[in-house]
Amino acid sequence: MKLHFDLKSDAQENRLFFSRSVTLIIFALVLFVTLIARLVFLQIQTHEKFSHLAQNNRVNLSAIAPVRGMIFDTQGQVLAENNPSYSLELIPEQIKDLDLTLTELSKILPISEKDITAFKKRKGSNKRFVSTPLRNRLSESEVAIFAANRHLFPGVDIQAHPLRHYPFADISAHLVGYVGAINDKELSQIDPVNYRGTRVIGKTGIEKTYEKTLHGSVGYQQTENTAQGRPIKVISHTAPISGESLTLNIDMRLQKTAYDALGDFNGSVVAIDTQTGAVRVLVSKPGFNTNLFARGIDQKSYTSLQTSSRRPLFNRALQGLYPPGSTLKPFFALAGLDYKATTRHQQVFCPGYYQLPNQKHKYRDWKKTGHGHVSLHEAIEQSCDVFFYALAHDLEINRMHHFLSKFGFGQKTGIDLMGEKSGLLPSKDWKKRARNQVWYPGETLIAGIGQGFNLTTPLQLAQATVLMANKGHAYKPTVVSHSGSQVSTASQWPAIQLGNPNDWDHIIKAMSSVVNGRRGTARKIAEGAPYKIAGKTGTAQVFGIKQDEEYDEETVLEHLKDHALFVAFAPIKKPQLAVAVIVENGSHGGSVAAPIARAVFDQYIQLTP
């Protein structure tokens, strides 16, 4: 190695390397001089100009946030609007004596200790020369008082910000959602240029899903400012483009009826126009005051909302997962006919329980004494469990899964709102995949009455009911009717074809008997209705009852009572509206959930010419 090196490293090579090194140094010197020359140009030759820009009359390029689009219901009722809000803001670096200024300010305006503490905290975390709010939501007279004294307070000014306001805060809380201050995670996902100047962003509901449409595009203006940073002259101005307003399919009159009809219960009501897929009602109760969030909610109120046992922040309509109970029976019945696992006339004897061949375990019917001999029609009308145990046993879980998934169970409906849950429609594959367990025949029976692993959202139940009402045809549910002048186009749901299309009518007839039949489980709501409703009641167990235990409604704790469900559409002849109602701990589908649907139908019929 050494030898080789000595041989090669001769004088010529050394000379070459030396001259190249000198060239590099000259090259670097040229670059060095270039940079110095540039700095001389900027800092001496054009220093005056930049100094002028920076110091005396600072040219301030400021972004103008676009006005956020408003949200209306289908009747033009305002659901979200922008109100002006004035805040008193300080630029600490431009104030000589901060404490004195604060004392003087509190002499002319009501400023609490709390405001001052919050201001100091905010000031600490802000960058320098940033306008920091001391008090928000000043009244008109407070604005006038400060304006008169403004010359006494350099570095202090009133800033106007639009404040989002929701007139139907509680009723539309989950539907419309709310806006809030942009957080770090959101900051990394938005275009920072377009949001320069924007303070809030949609957090939930329509506000979040349609953030892009509602926000608009930023504008900017160049102003010449005084040394105190007050604009004295606008040099150039590019107007922002306001966000587009949205018109929803929701009818607030129906929404309010549904919300009120739920009374003190927690629950959800979803109503969809069967003809168009337009979502007319999307209620999750309890709601909450979204205006608190838009203004900037304080920690205490937030914690109390978060920890409330009624879970007001939870969007039950899209994310609530409930066992559908007997509301699934019409769909299983249709599956039974289509797969020829049963016929319209086949009778099953119901002694009040069902047993698998060679097994002791008794699968109970809700009616202890049994329903006697029942046909499919009667089994739906009276909600006989034993009939559906037997049907499920013949159908097998995989065929049940296949048929019901056509109705959207176990999948997202594709509604134009974020955060929808897909629910659960069990199958052998699913159990193997998710739990790595085999499927037991008993689980098929439980699934056959909508219990067990089955979980659905209120929205899914409503959409499935639309498909039943329209005999296999529907659109995807849509909340937004149009944004600006652009009409949203509804996309078609994959049509469901039956071997014998008359089977639809048979099931719908049975659902009609649930309401209009002599022994129907929801017969009470038929009274006095000038139109005909078809529906199905359901009861979902909140907790499991052991083999020998009795479910006693009187003694069971309120939060362990069964959920009451009801799905329905009307009028039967020419269906217009499908409704799904879930009342948490409401106990009875027929007496608690069904009347809520009736109230919604009544008003719909009354409002529709």
Partner: protein, 378 residues
């Protein structure tokens, strides 16, 4: 003959006062001192740029400590060991780059990171050192000046990491790596004629290159040519940066008093655009002194290259020296608006860790080259 003699003479002279502890630790005092001064200046200006955030200073201080430690460790590795590993490091680096292309993490729209579970690693940093090492290794065995055949093959070695990194896309690093490789070629004595031809061809091909550039890269070039076109978007950096620098004047506004650069208006004020903060607060005088320190570090590094005894060390040292200075030029050029914005940090001053460690490891190599020399006469 005169030059080598001069070299040998200097070397032996140097050796007389070599028994100090510093030399045994393989520390080159001149470089060490200059780098330390630069780092301290960096922390001082970062304190201002980061709005007096002490936590930021602590983080940067820790990174500096780690980087200095890495430099000292590197200084212990003799150059012939480095030479032995050069081709393997390069090969490994290329393989890592390819895996980034296929399995890498996306960060801010660019695919540069390789997630190793414990930490994330940027293979392009490795290649900043491995590329000049590879070219130096390859050419060290040839007779200088190098034949065209070898120059051609060396160019391909340079092109591979350059293209792969440009694809990530990271134009700034890709330029630095290309220039580190080309610096070795230049030092190895490619003819001026060839340089002229290639330069001419590159100028002619520039319009073709335009078609291969990503949209944001095109945007940067357009913005550079006319920043006023897009005052709120990409041109914003340059306009604000120029106002900050220009308003600093001859003496500057004083430490912590640069209102302009510290306004919300100057983005990246503690990373890529920190020079604007410095220029506003310390003025032309401060800038000239700062640039002088960089120049001194460069000259010291070239001196080490000239002093080096074997071809590999010499080529590598010269390349590391030049790359360091180009780093500086690209950053300051971009902040002052004479070069497009390519996202290169100001060496040792900008906030951020990865590139600082690489840079100081490079200086560790220089120290190793300087302190592992042997007396030829012995």
């Amino acid at each position: 003959m005169r030059i080598p003699l001069q070299n040998y003479h200097k070397t032996s002279h140097y050796h007389h006062r070599e028994n100090s502890i510093l030399h045994r630790l393989h520390i080159d005092m001149t470089l060490f001192f200059l780098l330390l001064v630069l780092s301290v200046i960096g922390l001082v200006i970062l304190y201002s740029a980061g709005n007096e955030d002490m936590a930021l200073i602590q983080r940067q201080g820790t990174r500096l400590a780690v980087a200095f430690f890495a430099m000292l460790v590197m200084a212990q590795v003799p150059p012939h060991i480095l030479k032995m590993f050069a081709p393997w490091l390069f090969l490994g680096g290329i393989l890592l780059l390819l895996s980034v292309l296929f399995f890498g993490d996306m960060g801010k729209g660019a695919q540069r990171w390789l997630n190793l579970g414990v930490f994330r690693f940027q293979p392009s940093e490795l290649l900043k050192l491995a590329t000049p090492m590879m070219i130096a290794w390859y050419l060290a065995e040839r007779r200088l000046p190098v034949k065209f055949k070898y120059i051609f093959l060396a160019s391909i070695f340079i092109a591979i990491p350059t293209v792969l990194i440009a694809k990530q896309p990271d134009l700034g690093t890709s330029i630095l790596i290309a220039s580190s490789g080309l610096a070795v070629l230049f030092l190895a004595g490619i003819s001026w004629q060839l340089i002229l031809y290639v330069g001419g061809a590159a100028a002619a091909l520039a319009p073709a290159l335009w078609h291969f550039m990503k949209e944001y890269q095109k945007q940067r070039v357009l913005t550079f040519l006319n920043p006023e076109d897009d005052p709120l978007g990409a041109g914003y950096h340059i306009i604000q940066s120029k106002i900050a620098i220009g308003s600093g004047g001859t003496y500057g506004k004083g430490w912590l008093h640069g209102s302009q650069a510290r306004l919300d208006f100057l983005p990246e004020s503690s990373t890529d655009f920190i020079f604007a903060v410095f220029a506003e607060e310390f003025g032309l005088i401060g800038c000239a002194l700062l640039l002088l320190i960089y120049l001194l570090i460069f000259i010291r590094s070239i001196y080490i290259a000239v002093q080096a005894q074997d071809t590999f060390s010499r080529l590598l040292a010269g390349s590391l020296a030049l790359t360091f200075f180009i780093y500086l030029f690209v950053n300051v050029g971009m902040v002052t608006g004479i070069l497009p914005v390519v996202g290169v940090p100001l060496p040792l001053i900008s906030y951020g860790g990865t590139s600082m460690v690489t840079l100081l490891i490079g200086f560790g190599i220089l120290m190793s080259i300087q302190t592992h020399r042997k007396l030829l006469s012995s």
